[in-house]
Amino acid sequence: MSDTSTRSWKQRFLEASPLRLTAYAMIIGFVLGGVVICATSPVVLNSWRHIFSSGTGIFSALKVSFDHVGAAYRAMFTGSVLSPQLFWHSMTSGHGWDQTMTPLSETLTYATPLLICSIGVGIAFQTGIFNIGANGQAILGGIAGTAVGSMIHCPAVVHVPLTLVAGILGGVIGGLVPGLLKAYAGAHEVIVTLMLNYVINAFLAYVLLSTALQQPGQSNGLSRTIDSSATLAPIFGTASGLRVSYGIFVAVAVVFFALWLLDRSSLGFEFRITGANPHAARASGINPKFVVVTAFAVSSGLAGLAGVVQMQSTTHYIDSGYLIGSAGIGFTAITVALLGRLRPMGIVWGSLLFAALGVGGRSMQAATGIPLDLATIIQSIVVLFVASPVLIQEIFRVRANAQAVQLATKGWSA
C-alpha cells in the first residue's frame, strides 16, 4: 500500500496544473508575508491599538497597514525588477538606462549560478537520486576553476572555456565519490553527499591557506584572483556598472542541454525510467550502476559549473565564505528544483523568482528597514505550498484534477 500512496503523491506533485498552483502559492506567500510585516511593525500595531478611539480608527489602521506592506513590496519590486519612475525617466530622456536596469541585472546575476545548479539537482531527482551535495560539488568546481583561472595564462578564447571545464570536472570529482559508492557499495547517496559537504567545506578552508592558491601576501583565507582572460565579463562592459555577465549564456546553454537530455536523449530516457521505476529499468536492460554514476556525473558537473560561473562572473576569486552558509546556492538549488517541478523551464522561473526575492529583499531592507528575512519567509511559504498542492486545492477550491481523483479510486483495484 505504501507503494501506491507514494506514487500518487508524486504523481500529483509532478502533474497537478503547475502554473496555476505556483501562482496561487505566490499569492499566499505575499499575503502571509504582508501579515508578518504588519505583525512585526510597531507603527502598524500601534495604529490597530487605537481603532476604537475614533470613528475612522479602523480605516486609518487599515490604511497604515496597506501603506506599510505596499511600501515594502514596492521596494522589493523596484529593487529586483524595475523602478517605474526610473524607467519613465530613461524613456523620456534617453539617459540613465544603466541605473534603470541595475535591479534586473542584479537579479539575473544571482539567478545564473542558481539556475545551473538547480538544473543539476533536478536531473538527479528525475533519476531518483537525491543529490544533497550540490553545494560541496559547486565549491569544488569553484576551487578547480580558480586554480585554472589563476595559474594558467592564455588568451580568453581558450581560458574561459578551460576554466568552465575545470569547474565541471571539479564538480564531477565531488559527485563521483557518492555515485561510485552508491553503485558499487550500496551506500546511500543522501548520507554520503550530505556529509561530503562538510568535508569539502574543510577542504576549501585548507586550500585557501595553501601556497598554491592563496593570494600572495595574505594571511587569511583568500585565493588568488583569476586572470581577466578567465573571467566572464559583464555583457554591457564594466563602465555600465551592470554586473550581468556572459555567464547568462552558459545558463541558457545548460537549459537547452537539460531539455535535450531529459526529453530527447536516450540517456535521459534511461534516467527517467530509472527514477520512475528502478525495477522496470533493470528488467528493460538498463544498467543501474551506469545510470547512477552518469546521473551523478551530470548533476555534479552542473553543480561545479554553477560554482565556477559564480566565481568567474562576480568576485573573480574565492574566499573562506565562498558558498558557505546563506550563500550556499547548492542548498537553495534543491528547493528551486522542487519548485520548478524538476523540469528545466520550471526551474528557470523558480530560480528567477528566488533571485528576485533575494535581491529585492535587500533593497526592501535598505529602503524600509524590514529585515531581509521576510524574503526568506515568502520563499519558504511559496515552496511549502507548491510542495503541497492538495493544501492549495483546499484553500482555493481548485477543481481537483480528474486524473488525481481517478487515481485515488483506482488504487483499490484495476
Binding site: S265, N277, A283, S284, S413
Partner: protein, 503 residues
C-alpha cells in the same frame, strides 16, 4: 444483514462508472459481482463502503436508507471491506494490526496485548481463520495476510464483508482455504459480496451471481450457469475458452536449460537442477503451484537473478549470467510476472513504454538522440495491432486497465526480433476478453516459428496453451507431459510425484 442498492449511479465527469445499479444481498448469502476489468465493480464497492459518494440512488441496510460520508461510518454500520491491496502495517504483529484504531487498553492507556491476542484467537477458532496473533505481518504469506484483513473486518463486527478480487494474489490452495472461510462466514449469517472476474471461483462459491458490464447490471444468474454463459454475459459476446491451434511444427532448440541452480533472496536454492528445452515453433508451459521456483527461474533466464550453476543457452549461446541488456538483445522476449513492477513505468506514456527496452535502438534513437516521431509511429501501429484500448498513445500506462497494460507489454516484446518468448503469468488478473486476446497472440507467434515458454500457475491456461507441459515442484521438474494428460496426473506432478511413478 440485508443490504440493498437502489438505482446507484456514479459519474466521473462525462464517464458513467455505475449506471443505476440495483443489487440485493441477503443475510448469509455469498453474492458474487462478476465483471471485466473496468466494468465498474470496484467503483460500486467504493460507493457502498463510503469511499465515494453516489450521484444518484440510495443504499438500504435492513430496509433503512443510509448514507456514509466516509468509510468509518460504513464500518460502524457493519460493513467490512478487504481490499485487493492490503491495508496492513507490515512491521506490526497480526494482533496489533487487527486492533489498530480500536486498541484494548490497560491502565494508563497501555496497549493490552493479551486481550488483543485473545480476541483474535476466539475469532480465529470461530471461523477457521487460523493465524498466529503474534506473527509479524510482513513475514506471513499473502494468503495469511488476507486472513488478517478479514479478521480485522470481523473484529469490527462486520455483518457484510466486501471482498475485492480476493483471489487475484492467491495460490490454488489458498483460494480453496479462502472459499472454506467464506462458506463458514455465510453459515454464521454474514453476508458476503465477492468481486471477481474468475468464472471458476464464482461457480464454486456463489449463491447468486450478478454480472455487470460497462457500469450496468446485465443479469442475475444462479451458479449453475455454465462458464461459457457467464463469460458471454461478462463481455457481451461469445468467448472461446479454449485456444484453437494446429499441431506444432517443431524446429531447432532455441532455449536450453541444463542443471540450472538459482538461489532466492534468502540464499535458498529454490531452483535445483532444472533441465528443460524449448524448441522453435512450440509452446512449453511450465506449470506448478506458485512458490516452487518458477519465479526465480524466469528471473534467471532474463538475467535478473544470478545463475548459481548450470547453463542457459539461447540459440546456441550461453546466456547464463549475462546482463539483462545482452539477453534482451540476443532475442529473449520477456513478459515479467509482476507487470506493474517490472514491465511498465506507470507514470510514463504508452508510447514510451512501448520502447522501454529499446531506447537506444534504431529507429527509436540515433547517436544518443531519440527519434520521437518514430516512437509515436511505433506506438500508433502497435496500439492498433494489439487492440490496446486507450484514448491516446500519450496517456500514461497507469491510466490503462490491467488487461490493456498487459497488451502493451506483449506488444512491446513481440514487436522486437525474437528467438524465444518467455511470459510469466501472462494472463494473471486479466478479464476473459483480454485473456483470449493474449492467448491468440502467443499462439500466432508460435505458428510463425517462435519458441515460447509460458510460466503459469493457472492449470486451465497451461493445458490450453502448452504443446508440452513441464511441471515444477520444489525447484525441480517433476515431469514433462502432453497436454492431453489427465488433470489427476498434472495434480500429482504438481504435488511432487515423479513422472515415472504415475504415467
Amino acid at each position: 444483514m440485508r443490504i440493498e442498492l437502489r438505482g446507484v449511479t456514479k459519474r466521473f465527469g462525462t464517464f458513467t462508472a455505475n449506471d443505476s445499479i440495483d443489487l440485493v444481498v441477503e443475510p448469509g448469502q455469498i453474492h458474487c459481482l462478476l465483471g471485466e476489468n473496468g466494468a465498474g465493480k470496484s467503483t460500486l464497492m467504493n460507493v457502498l463502503f463510503g469511499l465515494l459518494n453516489a450521484d444518484e440512488g440510495e443504499i438500504l441496510i435492513n430496509g433503512e436508507a443510509v448514507s456514509f460520508a466516509n468509510s468509518g461510518e460504513a464500518v460502524r454500520r457493519g460493513i467490512g471491506m478487504v481490499h485487493q491491496h492490503f491495508m496492513l502495517v507490515p512491521v506490526f504483529s497480526v494482533a496489533e494490526n487487527v486492533v489498530l484504531g480500536f486498541e484494548p487498553t490497560k491502565s494508563f492507556n497501555r496497549l493490552d496485548r493479551r486481550a488483543a491476542a485473545e480476541s483474535i484467537r476466539s475469532l480465529s477458532t470461530k471461523y477457521g481463520l487460523d493465524v498466529d496473533p503474534d506473527a509479524i505481518v510482513e513475514e506471513l504469506p499473502i494468503g495469511l495476510q488476507q486472513r488478517v484483513e478479514i479478521l480485522k473486518a470481523l473484529s469490527h463486527d462486520a455483518e457484510l464483508l466486501i471482498l475485492d478480487e480476493p483471489t487475484a494474489v492467491l495460490t490454488p490452495q489458498e483460494i480453496e482455504a479462502l472459499m472454506a472461510i467464506m462458506r463458514s462466514l455465510a453459515a454464521d449469517g454474514k453476508s458476503i459480496l465477492f468481486i471477481t472476474h474468475k468464472l471458476k471461483e464464482v461457480r464454486a462459491v456463489a449463491d447468486v451471481i450478478t454480472v455487470i458490464r460497462q457500469g450496468k447490471v446485465i443479469d442475475s444468474v444462479s451458479p449453475t450457469a455454465s462458464e461459457g454463459e457467464l463469460a458471454a454475459l461478462m463481455v457481451g459476446r461469445d468467448v472461446h475458452l479454449t485456444v484453437e491451434k494446429e499441431a506444432a511444427v517443431v524446429g531447432d532448440d532455441v532455449l536450453e536449460l541444463r542443471d540450472v541452480v538459482v538461489r532466492d533472496d534468502r540464499g535458498v536454492a529454490v531452483v535445483n537442477g532444472v533441465n528443460l528445452t524449448v524448441r522453435a515453433g512450440e509452446i512449453v508451459a511450465l506449470a506448478g503451484v506458485q512458490g516452487n521456483g518458477q519465479t526465480e527461474l524466469a528471473e534467471a533466464i532474463a538475467g535478473l537473478r544470478r545463475v548459481e550453476s548450470g547453463t542457459i543457452t539461447l540459440r546456441g549461446r550461453n546466456i547464463s549470467n549475462l546482463s539483462p541488456r545482452e539477453i534482451l538483445d540476443d532475442g529473449l522476449g520477456h513478459v515479467p510476472e509482476d507487470r506493474q513492477r517490472d514491465g511498465l513505468v506507470l507514470s510514463m506514456s504508452i508510447a514510451d513504454n512501448l520502447v522501454l527496452n529499446t531506447p537506444r535502438r534504431a529507429p527509436f534513437a540515433r547517436r544518443g538522440t531519440r527519434n520521437l516521431r518514430a516512437v509515436q509511429e511505433n506506438a500508433t501501429t502497435l496500439v492498433e495491432r494489439f487492440d490496446v484500448r486507450t484514448r491516446s498513445i500519450d496517456a500514461t500506462a497507469g491510466s490503462l486497465s490491467g488487461g490493456n497494460q498487459q497488451k502493451v507489454i506483449v506488444a512491446r516484446e513481440l514487436s522486437r526480433p525474437l528467438s524465444c518468448f518467455m511470459a510469466s503469468q501472462p494472463t494473471r488478473g486479466l478479464d476473459v476478453g483480454s485473456i483470449e486476446y493474449v492467448h491468440r497472440q502467443i499462439v500466432s507467434q508460435r505458428n510463425e516459428g517462435l519458441g515460447v515458454l509460458i510460466i503459469s500457475s493457472e492449470l486451465d491456461e497451461v493445458v490450453a496453451l502448452g504443446d508440452r507441459i513441464a511441471v515444477m515442484f520444489q525447484g525441480r521438474i517433476t515431469g514433462i507431459v502432453d497436454p492431453s494428460a489427465s488433470r489427476e496426473t498434472l495434480g500429482l506432478l504438481m504435488a511432487g510425484a515423479t513422472e515415472s511413478a504415475n504415467v
